[in-house]
Symmetry: D4
Subunit: 256 residues, 8 copies
């Protein structure tokens, strides 16, 4: 026999335990797109306590819609292993590109990150960073529902050794860090802003630009290009995945 009140208690008890377990973590990743999910998987697999915070109700970022709502994405041979590793089927087009189902990609990136031990909090917004002596030491969060309705409600804080900004074009964590914490490690000290589409360059720079832009804050994926003033790419996701992998390794080396 099912008792509605028991359902309430079971859900809250588990969440309560998980929440308290996650108030201080190794890594917070803001934005559960392809780069963030890849980083989460590798970091969690390496035994780190990883919390992925996604503003929307559904993780996945800009990958769900493929290109112009055609649910297909393209990947390069160099990054194909990152799909293979987690069982995403890809099709060889015969001329140096692979295509994959964009919905399958999100589902499996997400499943594999969770299987590796990462925790996902969805419909939660990172609205600020916690700063201590010129180092980012956590994030300041609120319910997205509170945020969107502009209700006047204070946020809570999650401590983290590293924060990864995987929020895409807006690079919203880097932007708030710039505004409230100080200059970033970029050519001008500012968030430079993404440049026009040029897949070839963008795919390369997204990996190069992945790195620590402020003590304790690492930019990845499109956020990395946006912060450093590099081109955006279209629905080609190799660089994104490699960026997530690079960030994970970078943070792992620091946390040792």
């Amino acid at each position: 026999m099912i008792d509605d009140v028991q359902v309430t208690r079971k859900i809250f008890e588990r969440y309560s335990r998980e929440f308290l377990n996650m108030t201080q973590v190794d890594v917070v990743i803001a934005g559960a797109g392809p780069a963030g999910l890849t980083a989460a998987r590798i970091l969690a697999k390496a035994g780190k306590k990883v919390l992925l915070i996604e503003r929307k109700l559904a993780p996945g970022g800009g990958m769900w819609g493929g290109g112009m709502n055609y649910p297909v994405i393209v990947i390069q041979p160099e990054s194909k292993h990152l799909l293979d590793d987690i069982g995403i089927k890809s099709e060889d087009t015969g001329d140096g590109y692979y295509t994959a189902d964009s919905v399958e990609c999100v589902a499996k990136l997400l499943a594999s990150a969770i299987d590796a031990g990462a925790k996902v909090w969805n419909a939660v917004t990172v609205e600020d960073v916690m700063i201590r002596q010129d180092r980012i030491s956590g994030v300041v969060i609120n319910w997205t529902g509170v945020n969107l309705t502009k209700m006047h409600v204070d946020p809570l804080t999650i401590g983290a050794s590293y924060v990864i900004d995987g929020t895409g074009h807006d690079a919203s964590v880097c932007t708030v860090a710039r505004k409230k914490a100080g200059k970033l490690h970029t050519p001008s000290g500012e968030v430079e802003g993404e440049r026009s589409m040029w897949a070839e360059v963008g795919e390369q720079t997204v990996v190069e630009n992945t790195g620590e832009v402020y003590p304790g804050l690492v930019a990845i994926g499109m956020a990395a290009n946006a912060v450093m003033g590099a081109p955006r790419m279209g629905p080609i996701f190799g660089g994104m995945l490699l960026s997530g992998e690079k960030a994970a390794n970078l943070v792992l080396s620091k946390l040792k």
Copy 2:
């Protein structure tokens, strides 16, 4: 070297092939929530051509948010095998309930449906049904983007031997069928509307109510309860999954 225009071509060529392959299918499932995803997995595994059409950019329906945004759901022992089958971890609370991570649930239900061969079209809205001699014979679809902006653009039609309505509380496919095709197989011939929450009853009726409500149209999950005037349930998902399983078996028996 990556060429942006080639990326465009590769995506469109694959989509084009897939689209034309899917203009006439065995089953269209409207709404990629837990019931729809379960039905899709079983039908596709049985070799049927299955098209899942999801109005939002992200499939998953109401399952992402757990209960009140706490990303945890509850499941009963009787339906636990439907989680086990696809590798979703659950926790025994010791008193007859299991909890699971709501995000993991969606990711794996989705991955398993795709692995079984179902195709998902997201950000596409079913705005009407195709009707032929008092039988639903397909769905009428449009881009959700067109739909939300009320742009005056005609839809296209996808033919199907069976249409499954997994759109949840609104039962939107059944509602349009009632309005435009005629009376449904319900007590009053109308969409009865869901009743107040009573998990125990709702969990039972959602399976009982799963069935053909108009020739060619099967209601599942919360849509089944809404159409038949039964109670809604909270974040407990056993009945949902069993409803999807029952619908799949029903359609399979008819399609033979």
Copy 3:
């Protein structure tokens, strides 16, 4: 030294304890206006476990604004003791009316209810009732932020021996009970709707109409008049407070 993460933990730990303590209560009062706050105070003082759920961030309902935004309310001699009891100053106008500061009224009604032991959850919406064998046995709640943004997130359930509808003109709990549970104990079985303003009659009927409109569901204040088809009153609050008092006594007699 203050640690932001500790602040997070302290808040959540206390809330977690309180939440679990409140999943099954004696009385849920929906709507923290003057009638609901008065009922809460009396019930809590009598030792009942009382949970007040308020849709807005700030409790107080329509009392804050006095009449036409002039922060003054009027009270009759018969109900003046309900202000006196909790230290609200009132001014005798010399001809049978007392005036009071509307902001002071809300602050002290609220403080006294909390002092008596009632718990207030604000920015939480009662979106449905829990129904068991033709009796209301609890409420179905969600964050107001989730509700206003129409995010697709399931609610949770709070069990209660009695539910009091103090939601005012909308009588929103009674309305959902009528729609999903069945006919109410009103002349037509429906929510009759409030009638035009007539303070003299409304002030009298609001007390008379306070009562159980469905097993387990008691209507109070303007919700009582709205359910029973009686007149609304203006910024005169005597009947409201007496209605809260009557409802409290009614529920106390039943709970013994």
Copy 4:
């Protein structure tokens, strides 16, 4: 017998008397959050004529929602007496923090300020300051309803010896003073903008920054930190209350 028209007259007569009594006051406090309410209480107790103007219908500011909508706040030992003084219960967590019910806090801060003699006008917006020979000498107000609907209606003016800006993150009175009156007494002369969350520092600076930022204009609470470029705090309110206390004493010393 109650007469609706008499109710109208009683309300307006009292308001009319109070309004005319408040057109020239000792102190106007804009924003009825925890800092503003504390300042109001102390100033009124000392015999000053104090007018609190709150933009929303309900005073209380960001305190109602606790942290992330969990209605609990945290307070430090040093400021606990400010809760004790007005009868707010707090819980010792055993490790240097106290928690309190956020709703109780607002209700009692508000009740105590009114009991001390402060007058609250709610749903009224301070849209500008009155300036005379380089000194703020009052505020320019309008109905919030007029303001939100952008109706073209002129405001009225309230004269004050001191104006206290307790409007929080926006520091909206300081902002308009900067724009229309001239440079502020801040490092750059501008409203510096709040910095990222750092409770330890923020709690200290909020008291230090409380002070006169322009002749006749005192910034308190989060507005003080925002004006001076100091960190924001989370749902920890000790500094807020101490800031209100400091501002009250500062103004008292000037008004003698």
Copy 5:
């Protein structure tokens, strides 16, 4: 020398006196369009205490815009005297019609009503009627700003021997009276709704339909046609003015 605070006092003192003088009047006219203004002028001239309440900031109703924003209106010879009486210039088109400047018409109708002694409250909404023993005995009003922002603020009541509904197509006072007070004196007892445009008939019926539709409530102008199910007219205003004149005479005969 001008003192801003004195300006505030002078305005409020005069308003306060006028408000209290107007809480009980002979006639409230809701809607300051051409019919309402004409009725106001005649009633005030006859010595009645007349209060015109206009929902918008600017009185004038649908007359400002002429036809399709061309600021010209048409009038018949039979009603030309009502323009002449108040100095509105009209042009004889030579074939039985007169044209006039629509802006001039509003300005002079308004000036003449005020000169006759009527009082206008603008940006105030009649949201309900006061009802006593099956007779309308006043109106329930609120600031339009409060009304449009859906702030939860109680209204105030103005007593009147007669209420005239001059709110045009919506007949909003009659509609609320029907909903909350009971059946109207119309063929079906309901607000019948206006019929399609037919100037010839509409111009005639608007005068015929002007009358008491519920004890104490008189419908005029387009509201009269809307209540009685008669045709609407275009930018021809003779019937409107005659309707106002008839209503004024009707009420005068009753008030004697």
Copy 6:
């Protein structure tokens, strides 16, 4: 040399002449979609004075977007001559269908209607009909800009011997005629509402249903099917064009 004021005068002088020439016409067609444009072309070619009134800034209705925003439409062999007549290129698909560019179709339908002598007024809304002794005798129009902003501005009237409703799914002219003038010549006397998509039947009924639904009012295209309760069609336009042709011939036979 160009003089801006002269440009103003030239435009207004021509419009003024055209407007006055069009205040009484043979046929008003509401809605400039494919059916309306075809009817306009044939009627104008036959020497009738034809005024096409289109609510949007751009005529063309639902034809611009082809199917799901793919700018292609389908046509049957039987109606191909209506494309050929006006120079629209079509492609034979080899199995009984022709495709055409949807943008080309609109451009040439429009150009040919204008070449035949029809006048188009765009961004003008038909908001009502003119009714005289149970016959529609014209339309009541306003600027769409006035209409969308809900400005209170009276409309103007255009007289017509026949009014054709080509407003599509809404059948908005028939709907207002039903509401304000009386029962239509349909099975129930009501606007029946369109049924679900069934191209084969819809294409046939759209021609059959084209006819006079009220004296003086002819429904065409999708409005005809909507009024008579017949199925909608997708982006196949043969029936639309034939409906326009039939309506033109019907009206021509009546006007002789």
Copy 7:
């Protein structure tokens, strides 16, 4: 007998004549508030061709609402004659201020401007100026309805020897002139922006600042203070009226 189509023709014929008569005028006044109306009256009385263009449907600007929606305004002895001249009643408060009914003020300012011969076009927006060899030589107008709906429709141009900006706080004509034509005759060459309220100074500067800010463009009323960086005033209108008078005399001296 009234014929709807004749009503249409009469309105359009008169408007057409008036429009063509007004394409080139002596003075265009943008904004029909108290300053603009006063200027219009004096200029028209002196025989100039004056066109008043008002963005809203109702002229009157910010004067309708008095102060905070209390429909009363204040005037100084020095400007009382400008009320007396046009028959506006004022009340002597006995201490150097006069009050007047704000609605009466607008009605009579408007009526007197029209009686003097000025033409008002309402619901028309001045969206740009016409510029010729560094002199404003007219205004560029569009329907406000087109403007608010952001319909892509080109404006028309009205030629004028002088343009007066009476648009109030926004000084919108001066702002567009600054942006598109070049530097203004102000301290910085920019629109300086209004300063905080200081009635005494503002009342004086509004007259001083009234003047030509760009060849052919005169700023008046609050626009004059906003352009020159002077204080705003509250609901005191003497300076406004004197500003209108000064501008009229200035333009008259130039036009001779």
Copy 8:
């Protein structure tokens, strides 16, 4: 017999073929207003592969509405041949201007561009440019429906030897090129912004300013004037058409 699914297939098959044929073209023209359509016609006639991309569902830009919604435009003698060439009727006003029906103009400019071989994609937005080694080499597009709903969906890329910006006042392609690619060939390197209306100058400069503002990017029509800081024109279109003609010839000379 018509089969809805076949209709779907025919439309998609044709679109699919056309889409793949258009992924790399000679010229992309963004914005299908009069200048863009003229350029498209000439370029296509010369054998170039031309793709016109229009953000709205209906091409035509600002030409549909004539001046202030009066559907008439003005043209000079020098550009009349561009109307004559494509069969647009114009009227000689006798004093150096020609008028034409604005709706006819759009229809025929569009029809003639398509007849010449240009392809139009409507309801598609150019959201970025593709950049390669400091040259614009294509455009980045998305569905307008996706764009307006801010759905997070990646765009696709179309390659082009030349991109023409015909987006009007916004010059949106030039603006994005400036922001993301670098300085433009304009006086300041920026988009200068259009100046106030001066038809005589604007008509001349629009032709002069038509040219390459960045390698691979040509600005035409109002976009050319906006980029170069020249005046806007009213509803006079000679310069627009000549600008399109000049751009076409410029691109043709480069592509040889």
